[in-house]
Point group: C2
Chain length 429, copies 2
């Protein structure tokens, strides 16, 4: 079968999946969790095969580490499924109830989006998390994992699919794609797939965004900034900037550019230089920066670069407006931080910086679904519609309107025979 | 200046517009309303020119009618602006407040999307409505109206823009496009425009959707269905189906296909034939329909056709599942109605039919922002993300996360030195 057919099957399954009750879905999640445990040997031996193949192919150590799926990883994903089971049922929530007229009642009700295509990195635990999230939210899914993890993903997908269908999930609700060619084909299935969530490198996400008509939720770049204002507590600024840059460098919410207000630059730059160089961060500075500390010069590309490494660009700005404008020009709308003790200036920054996450006096690394308390994270979105910033389960939901009448027709309202009442009765039922 | 430059100017203006207070925006709306009134002569004479040109060019009567902008239309749009002024300020709403830890508070706050491109039909009143909606929601906009209304639109846009800027709106927040070439150029400005809202004919909307990477909100087709179940009150069904088809045929929420349960087809089809033919509706029927009433045969295309006219397709189905499957195959996800007195069957239909609006025992023509009580309508969306069904002001909004800290760093939480509390404190401030 080709991917277009699988996509159509998913579309049909998605309708049935949308009608499953919360307890049905939780039962399926329990079955999945049990089957993953009782079939752990199959998963681990598939994973060994992947690791052997990857070693043979000279795959680098960090990827090998992420690829590993052992008892600890299994325990973690099962804990994740258990916390999903405890979450409130997200489908069928009454978001608003309006009386349009007596006996003509409009309900706005949450429902799944439909069919989600998710393309994720080499960690096989992502497959478990994502399929469980899709099931909980009632969405059918087409999944594609990293090619290094193919055997592990096949073993996991088989267990999850069979357990869920046995528990009552509709056949065809989930399908694992195996090749890059499959992904390319999936990008053209805009008649069946409602949303794509690509997770992975910049270039990869950008490739997806540029080659499909299906809406894409995610982020390509994560060029995050810290701006140290002239009213900053400089010791706090050192702490926050150092954490934002170095706590974990390979991720989208790590800071890539430091903006420093001119008025405190002479005091602050030597302080931050000491702290960053202690962590082996390589610093590139603008001309004004280099008048104060001895660092390499930034190039024309520096401020558009996502290092994802122990490197940072520094620019001295003459006021907060220049900082805001720099961020809105070179940033990626991900996460930007101001360090100041002036709340009014903080508010200006947080309104005018056009990013999904704007922080005062804390690390950019807090920009994350788990740290935000979402329980589960679908991804981080830098787009401006549907969902923005870290996205939890609600990013996989939309709503429909259900109107309950007793024979009403529009002609009576346009003739003036009947009149709309338009009363919000959301809290009365 | 070319459109790319205007788009960049809009992007800059959108940041400032996002920071205007509710009272600033309402003041601008009052100024607009006053200036429209005091400059009515300029608007009416521009409109006369458009009508003369259109008559010369042999434009059809219905378009000429929609093109007309007189005192009555002016009063209507001013009433619309006044009701917008009264609406609650949509920007800056606290959607959720979470304590991540003591003194680390996360606010989810509503904000404008940014820059909206709206392409609308020949009614010049649409320009006033849309620009006022964008202003109230804090979005910059690029507008393109029907070419027949160019002079009227130019007059209206000039008055609205000048009045709003005088009242404090940022320069460049609104721009009128004049040619189709402009629209084509706008479609490529995905670095500056965040959302496109095309309103108009199917082919036109589909052209937009197929030729841009900017997210599009709207609907191409409106293939709406009425399904008359075997437990329907047949007199009610006649009334509702007739209104759904004939109350106003040229619109997306008019019904195009009637599905009839076999068990009541012999009783119902002659009744609905009489009622529809009284309104001069031409009926096309499937084979089973034509065994009961004498009508023309449907073709292979009938069930995918949006007539927008006094025409309807009828199909006899053997059960509710066939009806649901027909709708999910041939429908456009717009509005679909079940007529039944069995609430359980209604619920099945309303969950399984994958449309933005699913109705029980009332006309499909109720599917409309004004009838839903939204006060203002941006359009109707058949997409599955961001906004679905009739879209009010909230379709022009998104949110951002503001995190207020006191120097917290992530290292302390990953070391276990600090712990997240994740308390929902939305109703405490």
């Amino acid at each position: 079968m080709d991917i277009r057919e699988y996509a159509q099957i998913s579309k049909k399954a998605s309708v049935l999946l949308a009608s499953l009750s919360g307890s049905d879905k939780n039962f399926a999640l329990i079955m999945i969790s049990e089957r993953l445990q009782s079939n752990s040997d199959k998963i681990f031996s598939a994973n060994k095969l992947d690791i052997q193949n990857s070693e043979k192919n000279g795959v680098e150590a960090p990827i090998l580490k992420r690829l590993k799926f052992d008892q600890k990883k299994l325990d973690e994903v099962i804990e994740g499924i258990n916390s999903l089971i405890k979450l409130e049922e997200p489908v069928g929530k009454e978001l608003k109830v309006t009386e349009l007229d007596s006996d003509l009642i409009l309900h706005k009700v949450s429902c799944p989006i439909g069919v989600i295509g998710v393309i994720f990195e080499s960690r096989p635990d992502a497959l478990v998390q994502i399929s469980a999230l899709c099931l909980k939210s009632g969405n059918a899914c087409l999944l594609k994992g990293g090619s290094e993890a193919l055997e592990t993903n096949k073993a996991l997908a088989k267990i999850i699919y069979e357990a869920s269908v046995l528990a009552g999930a509709p056949e065809g609700w989930m399908h694992l794609l195996e090749t890059r060619e499959d992904v390319r084909e999936m990008l053209s299935c805009d008649d069946a797939i409602d949303l794509l969530i690509p997770r992975g490198s910049n270039e990869f996400v950008r490739y997806i965004m540029d080659n499909t008509k299906i809406p894409v939720m995610g982020h390509a770049d994560g060029i995050c900034h810290c701006y140290v204002d002239k009213f900053a507590d400089l010791e706090m600024a050192v702490k926050v900037v150092t954490d934002s840059k170095t706590q974990y460098v390979a991720v989208c919410n790590a800071t890539e550019t430091l903006l420093v207000h001119e008025a405190i630059s002479k005091a602050f730059l030597p302080m931050i230089q000491t702290s960053l160089e202690e962590k082996n961060v390589k610093i590139y500075g603008c001309e004004k920066t280099r008048e104060i500390i001895a660092v390499e010069a930034t190039t024309t590309d520096s401020f558009g670069t996502e290092y994802l490494d122990f490197e940072i660009s520094i620019k001295v700005v003459s006021d907060i407006d220049e900082a805001i404008q720099h961020i809105n020009t070179f940033g990626s709308g991900h996460t930007d931080v101001i360090i100041t003790s002036d709340l009014k200036r903080a508010e200006t920054f947080m309104v005018l910086v056009d990013s999904g996450n704007v922080f005062l006096n804390c690390s950019s690394r807090f920009s994350d679904g788990f740290r935000y308390g979402f329980g589960a994270e679908v991804g981080i979105s830098t787009s401006k519609i549907h969902a923005r910033g870290p996205v939890g389960l609600e990013g996989l939901l939309i709503y429909k309107y259900k109107l309950f009448g007793k024979g009403q027709i529009v002609a009576d309202y346009s003739d003036g025979k009947s009149k709309f009442t338009h009363r919000d009765i959301s809290n009365q039922s």
